[in-house]
Amino acid sequence: MKYILARLGLGIVTIWGAVTAVFLALHAVPGGPAAIILQGGAGGGDVNPAAVEALEKELGLDKPVLEQYVTYLGRLVTGDLGNSIKYSAPVTDIIAAPLGNTVVLVILAVIIGAVVGIGLGMIAGNWPGSVLDRIISGLLSIAVSTPGFVIAIFLSIYLGTRLGWFPSLGFTPISEGVGPFLYHAFLPSLALSFGFLAMLGRVTRTSILTVRREDWVRTARGMGLSPARVFRRHVFRNAANPVITVSGLQIGALLGATVLIEQVFNWPGIGSTLLNAINSRDYPLVQGIVIVFSVVFVVANLIVDMLYRLLDPRVEG
């Protein structure tokens, strides 16, 4: 319990650090929301500087950065993420829907990645050096080194446009049915899963290979246990730890990878929202999303640690 509390405390410090870093970075980057709102995007035109100043004052952006920071933190501890500048609505309202859409992608990607990645890793690890192992290892190497958005474009063009099996881009709200929603979510999730899948596959393979060489596995075999039982009882369970660790750490990477993949599929998730928020210098919205990302990261790490202890009581707290 003490361990968990300490870890939670550390997590909060991490989140505070991320918020502060992003706050300072955003305010250090040239360009403010008032100018963007008034001058717009491409093709935007002339505007009176007096109007920009007036809007900055209205938004409270004329105050010193430190004052804005303290005000922001003050609200944050009460659970208030503030109002989005672009949408003039609470950040929590703005990010709810896109966050949900992204979580679906991440969950689907984790499932696809876990099933396929661990499966392939187990096959390769159990028959090391075989043709199958070589093919799988080669494919995993390609998958791990190809950027997610490249895979996304490839899938969108081939499975989407050419073969027409899935929509090449777009989105249907879940309110119009779970089926159509998941149908649109499949390709982006698949694209997102590749890096995760490859990482899991490689770790699983290596881990199984290592465990298979352990003395106690040889002993178990020597005792006449069936290969399947040896695998289940002795190899798989012991090989699972690094797999779980990597999975947890990869959750953060998955969230990050959504930013570009969502662009390719025009998927209205939190990644697209973040990109738009940065382009429009919507400070509260960017910070809100960063907080969500940090929380996910911290919680994922915490869960990994707990699982680790659960699976292997020798891990010290």
């Binding site: 040239p30 935007g44 035109g45 505007v47 109007a51 829907a97 969108s156 399947a228």
Partner: protein, 534 residues
């Protein structure tokens, strides 16, 4: 791996860990299965048709508008939406001519100082509020107030007073004649707005052919035909489903895959593939002007000869080639469209490339062989900016000027451009109408990123004011020629021509008409008469 497990002679004891693992696998299988099955069962592309019974156009819009501040030029996506949901006294027809809109007719007094507009009877906003002369008066007074940031505030500032003798008559009394006034009033930013111009959901209310009935933040607008539109019978579309698609390639793909029927802001790099694709039409036209802006306040760029030298050193054809892939129009001189009667061919070729002359001018200015370096501010966010910056860099290297590229997103360009934190900037002057009076935006109005920093406004102000009130004709042409001559000496920025703007749509879409020049985004006005075949 199932087989060996099933054959195992000894049954494994129940363990919670294993049960969880199996449960997770089962869940995974279920989801994957559901996804696959759903895929087989339903084939609904995003917004495809949106309803079998009606004519609903699906529209991939290049950006989610950053709000709808009345009169403020917030970019192309914003203007496109405004042409759909709002109306002004006048509008543009499919040829770019000023046409009646809320006002069925208007009269100009002989001295050009009084405009009398007659509103159509029983006008209403989409929220059922009546639209009367009082709304026109209030809107124009708002647009004239410089604190409100209207893009064309100076055009409205010339209105001395507004009389509203009755609900359907508006009389504008001008301080000076204003040749361009009808064109200003026809622009989407001059639309008449109700007292509460934006509703609780942050969508604009107007009296245009369509109204926004749903705003799904970050995703889409749903538009329905506005029954209160004065010409509702001529509107054939029942609605428009607008999906925000920030990525240029995504829009093209969505059009080609049939997920949307109409897209805006087509990048020149996609023209060729769209032109050769069956079933889609590409409409393109010259758009806004591009210029290399200067910070004239100090250093070598404060010397007119240095600026002239740079003008002689730039290769406009290469700039056009890389910035628009050759689809734009390359010309120098004043930023006036090449098809305008105010375009001066001779001035446009004054600075035809001549690096020897450029070097001589640098020597005259005290910089033999150049020998100085300049920061060139650009952006990587939109196509054509960095590409042009690289050409400028190599052009100026030939006359001994070292150019350092400073790049970032568009917000960065705006911020540094507004504060004069640059030596040179890839940009362009603002222009809302196809009229030479819009040149004032290039020279007057204080520092912003759309104008060279530290420009000597006094060189141009009087002539620009004179041009604005002179009726079209030879006398007016002469005034703008004079301005052009001053420009060629002063060179506060170097013009490289007009960019290109493209819309693309499915062949089923009929009635869209492309305009050109600064009013190119007003092309979307024509969707009020568009229809979908088949």
């Amino acid at each position: 791996m199932r087989k060996p497990i099933a054959r195992s002679p000894q049954r494994a004891r129940f363990s919670p860990g294993r049960a969880k693992r199996y449960a997770a696998l089962a869940a995974a299988a279920a989801v994957v299965l559901t996804t696959g099955l759903a895929g087989c069962a339903t084939d609904t592309g995003t917004g495809s048709s949106g309803g079998a019974e009606g004519q609903v156009l699906t529209y991939g819009l290049s950006a989610e508008p950053s709000g709808f501040k009345t009169g403020v030029d917030q970019g192309s996506a914003n203007k496109e939406m405004l042409t759909l949901v709002r109306r002004g006294l006048l509008m543009y027809d499919g040829t770019g001519e000023v046409a009646p809109a809320l006002a069925s007719e208007y009269e100009v007094s002989d001295d050009g100082l009084t405009y009398t507009f007659t509103l159509r009877p029983d006008l209403k906003f989409s929220n059922d509020d009546p639209l009367t002369s009082a709304d026109v008066k209030r809107t124009f007074e708002y647009l004239a107030d410089e604190n409100n940031g209207a893009a064309d505030q100076t055009s409205f500032a010339n209105i001395a007073s507004i009389d509203t003798p009755d609900d359907s008559t508006v009389v504008l009394n001008l301080t000076d004649p204003q040749t361009s006034l009808p064109k200003v009033l026809a622009g989407p930013l001059s639309a008449i707005v109700p007292e509460e111009d934006v509703d609780a959901n942050g969508v604009p209310i107007g009296s245009g052919p369509f109204m926004i009935t749903e705003y799904n933040k970050g995703v889409s607008f749903t538009l329905e035909a506005n029954p209160n539109y004065y010409d509702a019978d001529s509107v054939q579309l029942d609605g428009i489903d607008v999906t925000f698609m920030a990525d240029a390639q995504t829009r093209v793909k969505a059009l080609l895959d049939g997920q949307v029927q109409f897209i805006d802001y087509v990048s020149a790099s996609d023209y060729e593939s769209l032109e050769s694709s069956d079933g889609v039409t590409l409409a393109r036209a010259p758009g806004l002007y591009g210029t290399l802006q200067f910070n004239l306040t100090d250093g070598p760029l404060a010397e007119p000869q240095v600026r002239q030298a740079i003008a002689y050193a730039l290769d406009l054809d290469s700039l056009n080639q890389v910035g628009t892939l050759g689809y734009g129009t390359a010309f120098g001189g004043l930023p006036v469209p090449s098809d305008s009667e105010y375009f001066n061919e001779e001035q446009a070729h004054h600075f035809d490339r001549d690096t020897d002359k450029a070097k001589d001018l640098l020597s005259e200015a005290g910089y033999p062989d150049g020998g100085f370096s300049l920061d060139l501010l650009t952006t990587s966010q939109y196509f054509g900016f960095t590409e042009r910056a690289q050409v400028i860099q190599s052009n100026l290297a030939e006359i001994g000027i070292t150019v350092n590229l400073v790049t970032g997103d568009y917000a960065n360009l705006i911020a540094n451009g507004n504060s004069g934190n640059y030596d040179m900037l890839v940009g362009g002057p603002p222009a809302a109408i196809n009229d030479p009076s819009s040149l004032s935006g290039a020279f007057l109005g204080g520092p912003t990123f759309v104008r060279s920093y530290g420009i000597d406004e006094s060189l141009y102000a009087d002539l620009l004011a004179q041009g604005a009130k002179t009726p079209d004709g030879p006398e007016r042409v002469d005034i703008y020629n004079q301005i052009g001559e001053i420009y060629l000496e002063d060179v506060p920025f170097v013009t490289w021509g007009q960019g290109t703007v493209g819309f693309a749509y499915s062949d089923d879409v009929q009635g869209f008409e492309m305009l050109s020049g600064p009013i190119v985004y007003s092309s979307v006005y024509s969707l009020s008469n568009a229809s979908i075949a088949g």
